[in-house]
Symmetry: C2
Subunit: 174 residues, 2 copies
């Protein structure tokens, strides 16, 4: 029975992504951002729970990526697009699309080519999502466009980033 | 060079999902539905292109599922939620979440347990998405809630559905 806890936590992450998008529809941007951060928490917990309950599986890994694209790829893009679509026009659309498409490619590659290393190849999408949101508050719009391109590049790059949660173990054990 | 065409078509599907959600933000529901239908077209073409150009791969399969959850899981849920959130309140939220979570589970299971059969186990998510949208026009709200529960059940069920595009071959060949 305990072995469904990791999947429930992953679904919790997905739920946060959906609620973040719905919050944007109601123009509740603060709430939308809060749900993305809460999604991060669920994302940190699901891998740990899977290892703790020895419930690592391919199904869990797939569920994880599918949730990640929604909470850390789509939801931040919707937030950024909603904030800047009136002032930046097509540049806001460009930022939202380049960020989410890079996240998509990163997640597909992460699942397909499992390195087994203790590092991530390319910046993990939750990190990029949080950085995008933080930068959207501190940077002027023109610099934010540049920062979004840089974050998008870092996600699909082959630069190694440290893995604090050792998420890759979920597959190897599964 | 031709072998990147299937992935570009899949990214086209993802792009349709994103543009559908952005259209809802601008209250352009017709446009949002049109993008979901266009996503269906890209989804039908990518598998065929992969087989034609002998470019089937695990990366392509992962890209496909990640795009499907956005275009056929998240976007229809956002459309339905936006149409009914004022009139149905929490029932609209329930419909949107049960549909998208069932789609999520269906896609994760589809990737994890590849049957190799010429049928789909559980209703494919693009079919459910199109049916949900069609039914939202013809059914009264109370019946739509019931229909959404039924569609969600059919996605996660073990009922076999015919596969017209033989999408599963994408993995077996990859």
């Amino acid at each position: 029975m305990l072995n469904i806890i990791p999947s429930l936590l992953t679904i919790g992450n997905f739920l946060c992504g959906m609620l973040s998008i719905f919050s944007v529809l109601h123009q509740r941007i603060g709430k939308a951002i809060l749900f993305i951060c809460l999604g991060c928490l669920f994302d940190l917990l699901d891998g740990r729970a899977a290892r703790k309950f020895k419930a690592t599986s391919v199904f869990g890994k797939e569920l994880d990526s599918l949730s990640d694209i929604v909470t850390f790829g789509v939801a931040p893009a919707v937030v950024i697009y909603n904030i800047y679509s009136e002032t930046l026009g097509s540049a806001a659309l460009f930022m939202a699309l380049i960020f989410s498409i890079s996240g998509l490619i990163r997640l597909a590659r992460f699942n397909a080519k499992h390195s087994g290393l203790s590092t991530f190849i390319g910046m993990p999408i939750p990190v990029s999502a949080i950085l995008l949101i933080v930068l959207s508050f501190v940077l002027k719009p023109a610099y934010l466009v540049v920062a979004t391109i840089l974050l998008s590049y870092l996600m699909v790059s082959h630069i190694r980033f440290p893995s604090f949660k050792k998420k890759h173990m979920r597959v190897e054990k599964g």
